[in-house]
């Protein structure tokens, strides 16, 4: 008779050989006995149960543990790791603080990068959604990449190609006044969208029916924020909302969706309710009205590249032959839009440069933590040579010594990871509030879900790598030497430490100089002369139709206010919201794209911009409103004229908007953000609605001025929201993301300097402890405090110098890459790298000052007595 095979294997697996013989023997007897009285099945069951029950006794565990030497070693390692960590509290604290701060910031960087890189990917069909873009690189001089196409393109694509399951068109509208009862605001994220929005994208409705929400032309679907803004806690469904004076019924409310989408809307109206705006010479069947964001959903298993190639035939079907080679349609995958090259001011777009900058900063930060950690542990392990000596003479293998050190630092890393995970989200909140930036990070549940799969292995690796070097050093220590002499770890460990310290300074200086340059660049952009004085300008928003009728009344009323010097009307807010159209003069071979702007009489006088030649639009020339064009100086050069005067009086054709004579050349001014160079600009007298009234104001009591403007406004237009902005504030907003980036980067820099100082502090404290006898001797022999400090700090000063020389060229290269993204940039001077080096030097000195001052108080009699 034998035991069943699986029971024998189970016993072999679970128990040590010594007990397994006894157990299996007894079990066999038990089985024979039991079998005679029970069925086969219950015998098996009984055997399994009994075998497993053997486990519950301490003696079996004890034997079991004995069998697993690994477990035992794990146990002792854990114990000794804990004791060692506890023993040296100050260096433990330094290490833990450094690691925790580093982890928190790396996680913040990770979350920021993760958000940037996964834009729009939360749509369940995101891999099948493509944006149709218009690519006009083919003709020789005119290069245009547009994110939009004409309104008939979407429907025609669906009709012509069975591969296309559906399409959605988005039409942007300018800022409009929205009102419900007495609540009124201007809203600028209002779109006309096809009702297929719901079937192509993942925009579920929290309230309302997806099938019918966008059917009635008088219905709108709004976000929950808008619902709360206008209706408070009331049920928004069926409520009336007045947009630009027209009444609409709320037919649905969007459920909240992730914020990382390139297309963010507040109010959606049915696409078929869209009407051609006043003064536009086009219809909705116009293939050339390239202003509609169009998305297509491909059927499953359709190859987008093949589909894109077919679009050449599509052009041939719908365009006259002379346009066939003029442009191409591209299919841009949804996930690529945010970071893609086709930019559009209406849409959010990301920036690879900032992603790289953050990535590099994060990598440097991590490297710094590892260096710092390694350095501190090497220094600390030198005080543990005796322990290693004892272990070795007791027969510890090299590998187990090595494992012990790695293990210790892995434990610390995991503990710090836990702490930093707990602190992460409070820290993010604190950062956002204190820096005044929005990181748009996910909630903590989602955040942790994305973080932890990366963070845990990562912490283990960091712990392992940081423990690697001390482990290697200690592994090589000879037991006899360690026990008989006071080892300092040998020259090898010293040189590695020097390299590590230098690397730390390299990283610190790199980040600091980067931070300085980034700060200078942002300041430069905010302070650059734009060609007009933005601090003396205010812009009042008036809806187009109202302005057309009431402008003269409004202007006279405004001019009565003492602080208001001049009033004029412009076509935008100097924030780059200009279209670009082909412009041609008889002297040019072919038309060139130019930005177009519409301004009222006396606009440039109001803004204080000089005319370089000629004059601006004037009421006294009646022909100005129909046949006059002003251009800027860049446009003069683009058109090929050598002087401004030469351009005057020339015929000019500004697309089909206006044709006439150039009556003036305006000095270049920045009509868009400083991210872009001043482009050629053609200025015409308004043909469509304008809504920005510019006020030239005199310094003085601005509060009372705003109050009196508002009072006049309430008297004139009680129905309309009052929206007055100071141009300076508005233009600063254009650099919001740059400022947020700079602030975040500065924070990283401060933290890295802090960590480096912590490391330095720990290192110097160890060195002073180790060298205390040497210092005492020097003191006895008459060294001054100055001598002592310089002998201690000098090596560090040298490392900083070496680091500065090493890092400057690399940092210079990277920063000039970063700056090349800006059209207007500062000069990259070497002086800033020197400054960064100096700051690091001084900070390092301050960080070590407390230890250096301890030297002064050493009583040689006490320290030297023991030998």
């Amino acid at each position: 008779m034998r035991l069943p095979g699986y029971i024998e294997r189970l016993i072999k697996f679970l128990f040590h050989q010594e007990v397994s013989e006894e157990i299996s023997g007894d079990l066999l007897e038990e089985m024979e006995d039991y079998q005679s009285r029970n069925s086969r099945f219950s015998t098996h069951l009984h055997l399994i149960k009994t075998t497993l029950l053997f486990l519950r006794f301490r003696y079996t565990w004890h034997q079991f543990n004995l069998k697993n030497a690994n477990y035992m070693q794990f146990n002792t390692s854990l114990k000794s790791a804990w004791r060692n960590l506890k023993k040296d509290k100050s260096s433990l604290t330094l290490n833990a603080i450094g690691l925790t701060i580093g982890f928190i910031l790396s996680m913040v960087i990770f979350l920021v990068l993760h958000r940037e890189l996964t834009f729009d990917q939360w749509h369940s069909k995101s891999d099948r959604i493509f944006r149709v873009t218009h690519d006009e690189t083919i003709s020789a001089k005119s290069t245009r990449h547009l994110a939009t196409v004409g309104p008939p393109v979407g429907p025609a694509l669906k009709q012509d190609y069975s591969e296309i399951e559906n399409f959605v068109r988005f039409r942007y509208t300018p800022t409009q006044p929205v009102r419900h009862d007495n609540t009124s605001f201007y809203e600028n994220r209002i779109f006309y969208i096809d009702s297929t929005l719901f079937s192509v994208f993942d925009y579920p409705l929290a309230q309302g029916n997806e099938k019918s929400a966008l059917v009635d032309p008088n219905s709108v679907v709004i976000t929950q924020d808008i619902a709360f803004k206008y209706f408070g806690k009331d049920d928004p469904l069926g409520k009336r909302l007045e947009i630009s004076g027209e009444s609409y019924t709320v037919s649905g409310v969007f459920a909240p969706t992730p914020s990382n989408t390139h297309f963010d809307f507040d109010i959606v109206m049915p696409f078929h309710a869209f009407e051609v705006p006043f003064g536009y010479p086009v219809t909705l069947n116009d293939w050339g009205w390239i202003s509609f964001h169009t998305y297509v959903l491909l059927k499953e298993d359709v190859n987008a590249t093949i589909m894109e190639a077919q679009l050449v035939d599509f052009i041939k079907t719908h365009w006259p032959e002379d346009r066939w080679d003029a442009f191409r349609f591209r299919m841009q995958p949804l996930a690529d839009i945010y970071l893609g090259e086709v930019k559009n001011d209406i849409l959010a777009s990301g920036n690879w440069t900032n992603i790289y900058a953050f990535g590099i900063a994060g990598a440097l930060l991590l490297a710094l933590i590892i260096f710092n950690y390694t350095n501190l542990s090497v220094a600390r392990s030198l005080t543990r040579t005796k322990e290693v000596g004892v272990r070795k003479s007791m027969g510890a293998a090299k590998g187990s010594i090595f494992m012990q050190f790695s293990f210790e630092s892995m434990i610390l890393a995991i503990c710090c990871l836990l702490i930093s995970t707990l602190l992460l989200f409070p820290t993010i909140n604190f950062l956002q509030q204190s820096l005044g930036i929005t990181l748009n990070l996910p909630t903590w549940q989602e955040g942790l879900k994305t973080l932890l799969p990366f963070a845990i292995p990562f912490a283990l690796i960091i712990g392992f790598v940081a423990g690697l070097y001390p482990g290697l050093v200690m592994m090589k220590v000879r037991a006899v030497q360690a026990l008989t002499r006071n080892l300092s770890g040998g020259s090898m460990s010293m040189s590695v430490r020097k390299v590590l310290v230098t690397m730390q300074f390299v990283i610190t200086i790199a980040l600091l100089s980067g931070s300085i340059i980034i700060y200078k660049q942002i300041r430069y952009m905010q302070e650059k002369d734009l060609g007009f004085d933005q601090s003396t300008l205010a812009v009042l928003r008036v809806p187009g139709p109202t302005l057309l009728e009431e402008y003269d009344v409004l202007k006279n009323q405004l001019l009565e206010i003492p602080n208001v010097e001049r009033v004029s009307v412009g076509g935008g807010r100097m924030d780059g919201d200009n279209g670009s159209v082909p412009v041609k003069t008889p002297d040019m071979e072919e038309s060139l794209p130019m930005f177009v702007e519409a301004v009222d009489y006396g606009f440039y006088k109001t803004l204080g911009i000089e005319m370089a030649a000629g004059r601006e639009f004037s009421k006294s020339f009646s022909a100005d409103s129909a046949g006059a064009v002003i251009v800027n100086e860049t446009a003069v050069k683009t058109m090929g004229y050598t002087t401004n005067e030469e351009a005057l009086g020339k015929e000019i054709q500004v697309s089909d908007i206006r044709s006439g004579k150039i009556i003036g050349v305006v000095s270049d001014y920045h009509f868009t953000s400083l991210h872009h160079k001043i482009g050629p600009l053609a200025i015409v007298y308004p043909r469509t609605y304008l809504e920005d009234v510019y006020l030239k104001i005199q310094p003085g009591n601005l509060m009372s001025m705003v109050n009196s403007i508002e009072a006049k406004w309430q008297a004139l237009f009680p129905e309309l929201p009052f929206d007055l902005i100071f141009l300076e504030n508005h233009l600063n907003q254009l650099y919001q993301s740059d400022v947020a980036f700079a602030k975040l980067f500065r924070l990283f820099t401060i933290v890295t300097i802090l960590i480096a100082c912590l490391g330095l502090y720990g290192l110097i404290s160890l060195i002073t402890t180790q060298k205390i006898k040497e210092i005492s001797m020097r003191k006895v022999l008459g060294a001054t405090l100055q001598n002592l400090i310089s002998s201690l700090f000098k090596p560090f000063a040298i490392y900083i110098g070496i680091a500065l020389v090493l890092v400057s060229p690399i940092a210079y290269y990277l920063l000039s890459q970063w700056l090349s993204n800006y059209a207007y940039k500062i000069d990259l001077g070497w002086i800033w790298f020197l400054l960064a080096g100096l700051v690091v030097m001084v900070t390092a000195f301050i960080a070590t000052l407390s230890h250096l001052s301890r030297i002064a108080r050493i009583n040689p009699a006490r320290t030297l007595r023991s030998d």
């Binding site: 006894e22 299996s24 023997g25 007894d26 007897e29 006995d33 149960k49 053997f54 519950r56």
Partner: protein, 112 residues
């Protein structure tokens, strides 16, 4: 030292080891207890108790000869040690002492 006092189960196991001498091992102890005390303990319970007693030094053990009946596996034979015997005796004396001091009336209380 823990376990200076014998537990009830331990006492029974010890008594069984004594009774079965020289043939006390896991299965025989288990069977003895199940038969005489009318309990139903698991084999592993007997093993646990025997090993605990051995740890305390109340029983000693040695492997017996390998026989063909158990698939060639040796038995681990337990014998009581002098300390074990002393403990047993102490426990018995404690009880006997208490028994002898019970007044006769107590037995009269529950005559019927």
């Amino acid at each position: 030292m823990k376990g200076t006092q014998l537990g009830e189960f331990e006492e029974i196991v010890l008594l069984a080891v004594c009774k079965l001498y020289p043939d006390a091992y896991g299965v025989s102890v288990k069977n003895e207890i199940n038969d005489t005390a009318n309990r139903s303990i698991n084999l592993s319970t007997a093993h646990g108790a025997l090993n605990r007693l051995e740890e305390k030094g109340l029983v000693g053990s040695e492997f017996g000869e390998a026989t063909s009946t158990r698939g060639g596996k040796r038995k681990k034979m337990f014998t009581i040690t002098s300390i074990g015997l002393k403990k047993l005796r102490e426990a018995k004396e404690l009880r006997d002492g208490l028994w002898s001091q019970i007044p006769e009336v107590v037995f009269d209380l529950h005559q019927s």
